[in-house]
Every structure is written in structure tokens, then in C-alpha cells.
Amino acid sequence: MMGTTRALAVCAAVCALAGARAGAQAPLIPRPVIGAPKPFRPPAIVERRYANGMRLVLVPFRATPTARIELVIRAGSADESATRPGVAALVAQFLSEGEQIAQMVSDLGALGAAISVNTDSRETVLAVSVLPEAAPAMIALLAGMARRPAFEATALERLKANAVRGIQLQRTQADWLASSRTNSLLFPGNAADRFPSEEQLQSIDAAAVTDFHARYYAPSRARLYVAGTFDQAGVERAAAAAFADWPATAAPPFSLPASAELRATNAGDRPVIHLIDRPGATQARVQVSFPVVDMAHPDHRVLNQINMLMGSTQTARLVANIRERHGYSYNIHSRLARQPGATQWMVAADITNNVVGPAIQEILGEIARLRRDPPAAEELRSFQSFMAGILVSENSTAQGILESLRWMDLYGVGTSYLGTFIQNVYTVTPANIREMADRYFRPDRMTIVVVGDRTTLLPQLEAIARVE
């Protein structure tokens, strides 16, 4: 209200003079010409390795006012035995349990507010942003969580119940239904996509939890990253005190699988749509996917650009077509979904029921065009400038820097990657793009999953594909 009153007063004074006419008559100012970007210098990294094999990575970086701390344990769903899916995530949930941890969290006040614990196929990550002065105490707390969790029997039932609730919620969500079906079609049997049933979760006992922890939570599989603003000497002391005496164990060595075999999933002569019924849904979730090679493969650099050009920014072809031109979907996008040994390029959208068929046809048309015609040099150049620019912004915060460092570590990509990224972006040509699209986006590897109201969608889908 205050702003409005003041704004009116200003206008009473100046609008009278200007006659309060809209801006059309004012002279237009020509578009400025901009110069060259400043060079991007990745921040310096300090690395330590303790005798037990654990690594410490420090990135002093004052652009972020807090310290970002991420403790990575290389233990994930891929380490589970096939009969015990869900145990990796359950162990991770246990890390925040127990009287001692609760007391530490409580004593440290703010520190407990935002520790996130996430488990994927290869890693469990404890991540938190803290006020700089609290970084050493936070490191001690994370060490206590990872090294000495209290596996209390009373907590086990509660955590399993929570996990079951999580599964129930997931299964009401169209995007999860679409991606889990897609994964099972593209990468059958892949460890990353084993979703436990409720019965499997309920059958996990205390021994399974403690065994998994004892086997995989080991210094050789642990890395501590600290980025942002912090007192470096204090953090190094705290990290050494917290982790250097962690006894080395004979944990199974960590390794990544090879890229998935890129196999055909259909005959390729006519698209196949896998339809999951969600009665009464007002939109359909559509996911179109192709298996591709993993991050560390040289082709990935070009696939990254294809992804940008097709659906990872507002000017991308699929967004310009499906969203801006037709208004079929608000959230159409593409991305490279990265899982070691199971990477895919995917297009996903929530689409209004009555235009699902035409929207899928437009998506397929854009993919076919990319395989047929190289992009115009000017179009490609614009996306390359975008990628060069966002490299800077994505690495402009402590959290962003750690995201980069962590996947580079995981895939063993050399540390020169960031520093040479921008010059490498501009070496990709329109012909490279077409060739790579042709190599990876073959019709016989295309998997289409639709989640929506079957009765409404079936006639539209059958007009363009075989529906399963």
C-alpha cells in the first residue's frame, strides 16, 4: 500500500507535464551492441586425502555467503542385492536417527534445519548449507551421522512406514509412472530402477540395515566437499578430526558399469505407445525416450548440445513448437537423464487431453527433422552462446560448483573439463549435430509412454501408433 501511495504522488507531479501519454510517441532507442564475454576461471580447488582413503575437497568461493557441505558416500541402490531393494535408502534415512544425533542437532540449532539426505543408484549424499561459523561443528555432526548411526529397532518400523507412504505418493504422480515404465522398457533389470514393493520394504530387518552400512559406509567410498565461505584452516582441522581416524575396511571397490547396450525396443516401422490408464486425468503425461551413452563418452558433448537445441531452454525447438506456437503444453522440455549404465535422452510434457495426438506428432516431427537436416549455423551458434553463458551461472554458487565437481568425480572426467568447456562448445558443427541425432535417435529405439485417461486418449493415440 505504501508503494502505491508514493507512486501516485510522483505521477501527480510528473504526469501532468507529460500529458500522461503512453510511450508509443517517445523516440525508440536502438539495440546496443555488446562486446566479448569476460573469461571464465573455475575456482581453485584444495584437495586432501587421508591415509584411510577418504578424500576432502575444499572450494573457497565467496560468491556464496554460506558454506555448502556435502558428504558423499558411494553406496546406492546399485549396491543392493536383488532381494533387498530399498535398503540403501532406508540406511540413509537412519543416519538422522537416534538420541545422540537428535541431541547434537538440537544443540546446534540451525544446523539441523536443512540436512538433506538423498540416495540414488550410486551415491548417498548428505548435503547442507550453514552459516560459515557453523561449518566445523556441522562437519562433526555429519561424521557422527555417517559413521555411528544408531540403528534403533523402534525407528525401523517408523522409517519403513514412511518409505511405504513415499511409494504410495509416487504412484499417484503421472511423471513418476511415466519415467518408471520407460526405464523398465529401456533398461530392463537395471539396478537403478528396482523400486521396492511395499512387501519387500516391510521385510527389511535390522540385520539387513546394519549389514549394508557396515559393508558400504567406508572411508574408501567417502568424500567430503565444502564450498562457499568458510574458515579454511578451521574446516580442515574439523574434517581431519572427524574422518581421519575412520578405520579403513575391505569395502568392495567402487566401479561404474559401461554404458547401456543401445538396443532396439520395437520394429521401428510404426511408433509404439505404452499407455498407462489414469482415469479422470485432465492432462496426459507423455514421455518420449531414447537410450544414449553415458556422460564420460565423447559423443556426450554433442548430445548435450542437441538437448539444448531441442528442449532445454525457452527458445529450443520443441518448446517453441509445442508451447509457444501451439499452446499444447506448459512444461514441455527435454533432458539427458544420467544414470551410469542407463542414460537416456527424454522429452516429457503434460498435455491437455484433446490435443495429445497432435502434440505427439509434432514431437516426432521435430525429432525426424533433426535427423534429416543439420541446424542452421546461426541457430546452433545461439545455443552455443547460451551454453557458454550458463556454464558461468551454473558454477556461480557453491552448490552449483559442487554439482559440477561431483559428477566429474563420479565419472572420472578430468578437472580440465570446466576450464576448456567454453572453447570446446564452439567446435561442434551443424553436421556433427545431424550425424549424432541420426546415430542415437533411431525409430526402433524410441520408447513412448503416455499416462492419462485411456478412454479419452485411445482414439487419438491409435491414429498415430500401435498402442500397448
Binding site: M1, G3, T4, A7, L8, C11, C15, A20, A22, G23, P27, I29, R31, G35, A36, P37, K38, R62, A63, T64, P65, S96, A102, V105, L108, G109, A110, A113, A114, S129, V130, L131, E133, A134, A137, A161, R165, L169, T172, Q173, A174, T229, D231, T313, Q314, T315, R323, E324, H326, G327, Y328, Y330, N331, F383, S385, F386, G389, S393, S396, T397
Partner: protein, 459 residues
């Protein structure tokens, strides 16, 4: 180059648990504030730690400015702002920003609509030029309005209706608890039955009128932050924005809510929800009232973190739910993003078959503890630290765009961007006595709405 960063370490009395000599962080954001002759307010904040510049343009044009029959228009208009201006055609803003290596975003909140760009700093002038061009004039035709409308309706469907808990708390509490249409209707413009008739009936003339009435320099704030030379940027702004002729701003209708005198209760059925949920929402004091900041501390004591009272009582001691959620302006923005009538809420999901009153009773017990007597100093100190940590998280959000938003909001809401460096003091000034009186004044049942969310009947 002198490295300047957005905050400084200052030696101060540390929290007792961290030892006597720990340096404590304090914000020290560099802020320059100018008002141009056409009324545009300009905030400049240099920080050369990375070669990026951030631009935020904030128009005091949110859903509270809408008129009945045109619910959701401010948000629809947010999308129309990318459809054309005197020198930019539909979508050209996107190309211009991304082609220069930048990213952009826009968002409609209750009291304003914001447009953000982050770009390598060498391209800043180009972004300022584009933002000035669309503050200078609007170009929109029927065909583009129709395409944008279809996209926006998809957005509303996706967020409100095609996922579980899509409208829970942030939309349906306002519908029940607010008495004025301006405050009660959905930002998306949809009604609980799924109708989007207001969006369907919006016209090109509506867009032209909304732009004329609310998208004028005097109703806007421009924030430029990052790797900038303030005097050079101010010169550019004078040339690009200062030459936009002033336009009058339409007066705002009153939006104050009357004092609530009886508890409200409502039940909503969510066809997508796997489990029921309960929310309690209390009307808040205005931001200018110290009680507003006291409630932010109360929120920390009751809800945020593992040491929070409701978390301990509901989750750890009684296992009635897996988590307790809530806060000021929960599920849409934060305590810093809203100026008009607003809520503090607490909510939880629970298993079918359980009674919501069993959860409500435990929530009420915790509130009663606050109302019985002053909290101890350790509890207060922890809550203040958590509130500061949340503030820093807010400033770092969206790759540090949070700091730009904070400067924009403080200017829109009170013409005082420099206040960013004193927010921590608001938290530090809260006392046990203030918590006691605020809990008694505001966390009374007659000031609240109890909202139950039910799952659909099995078919």
C-alpha cells in the same frame, strides 16, 4: 579488480554453543537507491565475485489488482510480457537473452509480478535495453493471446488439478479464510470446480488496460546486481528507462481483511490425494508490526527443524505423521515475498483411518506451551539462528537471484532496499515476552482456519 562480495564477516558475540571467539556472519550488501523523474525506482548492488549481472524488474501488479471476472489475469499477463514490445516481436526476448548466454524467469506472486534475468556481465546493457523496451510499450494480438492462454491453462491444470495436493493450503486456505475477493481468489484464476472461465474471457483490450494501469515506471522497481560499475549502469538506465514517459498508476482498492472472530473449518476432497491432510492457518499481522517478525521466530520454534516442538511431538514422540510442514506464506513464496493479508500455517499428511482431531490436539498442545509462559533463552537463540540460516538460504536461492528479489521486495513494500542488512536485527530483537504476547494475540483459535483435505471415496 577489487573483489567485493555480498557479505562480510564481523566479530560479534557468538552463539553460546559455538564458543566465545567464533566470528559471526552479518550481511553487508552494498545498496544504492535512486528514483528517476518518471517514478521508476532503481536499486544497484555491485558484487564482483563472479562475472555475472542480475536484473530484476518488479511491477506492483499481482492478483490483488485483479477484478472479479478476471481472476488469474496478472499471471496470464506475465506470459504476455514476452509477446512483444515496440522493438521486440513475440518470443524475441527469449532469443536475445539466451543468445547472450543468459537465463530468465518470471513469476506472479500475490502482490507483484517479477521478471528476472541472469547474464554474463558484458551483455547487461542488452538486457536493460530489452526490459526498457517492454516497459515503454506492449504489442499483443488475438492470435498470440489465444496461444498464450492455452499454455497458461495447461500450467494451471498441471499445478492445481493434475497432481496430488495441488491447491492444498496455498490456494484453498485463502478461499476459505479471506473475505475480500481480491485476497481469496486463486492466483491461477481457476475455481475449485476446475473452471477457468475467467481466463477464457480475457481479451486483448484487457491486456492493454492492465498494462496501461499497472506496468508504468512509477509502479515498478528495477534492481541490477552483480559484476557492475554502478555509475556507468546508472547512466545506461537514465538513457534507457529515464526517457520512458511517466504514466499514471490506477489506484489500488482496499485489501485489508477484518479481524476474524470465530474459527473457520472447511473440508476439501482432492481426487489425486493418496492420504488425507490437515492444515491450520492464522491471519498474520502486517510486515510493519514487530509481531510479524515474532511469528517468524515462533515458526522456527514450532515447525522448522528436528528440534521444533511440533516435529518432536507429532513425528518423534507420537508417530502421528512423518513430517510437519508450514511457515509464513507456505507453498507459495516465503515470509519475504508477501505484503498484503497473509497467513502462517502448519500442515501434515496422515494415514487414512486416523482422526485429524488427534493431530490437531497435539498441534494445539504445542501452541498452548507458547501461550503459557516465556520460552527459555536457549530455545529462542536456536530459533534466531535458524531464522538467519533461512534468510541466507533465501538470498542464495535460484543461483543467488534471491538477493535481487529481496532488494526488489523491500523497495516495492517500503522504499527501503538498505533494510536488507537489518533483517537479522529484526530476528535478534525478538524477546521471550514478545513471543508470549504474540502467541496469545495471534495464535488464538478465533483467528484461524482449520482445513481438512480428504481423499476421494473408493469407486
Amino acid at each position: 579488480m577489487i573483489m567485493r562480495s555480498l557479505f562480510a564477516l564481523v566479530l560479534a558475540t557468538a552463539a553460546p554453543c559455538l564458543g566465545q571467539t567464533t566470528p559471526v556472519t552479518r550481511l553487508a550488501v552494498s545498496v544504492q537507491f535512486h528514483t528517476l523523474s518518471n517514478g521508476l525506482r532503481v536499486v544497484l548492488s555491485p558484487d564482483t565475485s563472479v562475472p555475472l549481472a542480475r536484473v530484476g524488474v518488479y511491477y506492483a501488479a499481482g492478483p490483488r489488482r485483479e477484478t472479479p471476472g478476471r481472476g488469474g489475469f496478472a499471471h496470464l499477463f506475465e506470459h504476455l510480457m514476452f509477446e512483444g514490445s515496440p522493438q521486440l516481436g513475440p518470443g524475441e526476448f527469449f532469443t536475445l537473452v539466451t543468445g547472450a548466454g543468459g537465463r530468465f524467469g518470471a513469476r506472479t506472486l500475490y502482490d507483484f509480478t517479477k521478471y528476472n534475468v541472469t547474464i554474463p556481465s558484458h551483455a547487461l546493457e542488452l538486457v536493460l535495453w530489452a526490459e526498457a523496451d517492454r516497459m515503454r510499450g506492449l504489442r499483443i494480438d488475438q492470435q498470440r493471446l489465444d496461444a498464450v492462454r492455452a499454455t497458461v491453462k495447461n500450467e494451471v491444470r498441471q499445478q492445481a488439478f493434475n497432481r496430488p495436493y495441488g491447491r492444498f493450503v496455498w490456494i484453498d486456505v485463502a478461499e476459505v479464510a479471506q473475505t475480500r475477493w481480491e485476497n481469496a481468489h486463486s492466483i491461477g484464476g481457476e475455481t475449485p470446480d476446475g473452471s477457468m472461465a475467467d481466463l477464457d474471457s480475457a481479451t486483448v483490450a484487457d491486456a492493454e488496460n492492465f498494462y496501461r494501469d499497472y506496468y508504468s515506471p512509477a509502479n515498478a522497481v528495477l534492481v541490477v546486481q552483480g559484476d557492475i560499475n554502478p555509475s556507468r549502469v546508472l547512466e545506461q538506465i537514465q538513457r534507457l528507462f529515464g526517457t520512458i514517459p511517466p504514466r499514471p498508476v490506477a489506484p489500488m482498492l482496499p485489501i485489508e481483511e477484518p479481524r476474524q472472530v470465530a474459527e473457520k473449518r472447511a473440508t476439501r476432497v482432492d481426487p489425486n490425494a493418496p492420504r488425507p491432510a490437515i492444515a491450520i492457518s492464522y491471519h498474520l499481522p502486517p510486515r510493519s508490526d514487530p509481531a510479524f517478525w515474532t511469528i517468524a521466530i515462533i515458526d522456527q520454534i514450532l515447525i522448522e527443524g528436528r528440534d521444533a516442538w511440533m516435529h518432536r511431538a507429532l513425528v518423534e514422540e507420537r508417530n502421528l505423521t512423518e513430517a510437519i510442514y508450514g511457515g509464513i506464506s507456505t507453498r507459495h513464496g516465503s515470509m519475504y515475498t508477501v505484503n498484503g493479508p497473509n497467513f502462517w500455517s502448519a500442515f501434515a499428511f496422515y494415514d487414512k483411518g486416523r482422526s485429524p482431531d488427534s493431530i490437531l490436539a497435539v498441534m494445539d498442545d504445542q501452541i498452548a506451551r507458547l501461550q503459557a509462559g516465556p520460552v527459555d533463552s536457549a530455545t529462542l537463540a536456536r530459533a534466531i539462528t535458524k531464522a538467519r540460516a533461512d534468510l541466507y538460504a533465501e538470498l542464495s536461492a535460484n543461483r543467488n537471484e534471491g538477493i535481487v528479489d529481496m532488494l526488489g521486495q523491500l523497495t516495492l513494500f517500503g522504499d527501503n532496499p538498505a533494510r536488507i542488512n537489518r533483517i537479522e536485527d529484526e530476528f535478534r530483537s525478538v524477546t521471550p515476552e514478545r513471543i508470549l504476547s504474540t502467541a496469545r494475540d495471534y495464535l488464538r483459535p478465533t483467528n484461524r482456519t482449520v482445513l481438512l483435505l480428504d481423499t476421494p471415496e473408493p469407486k
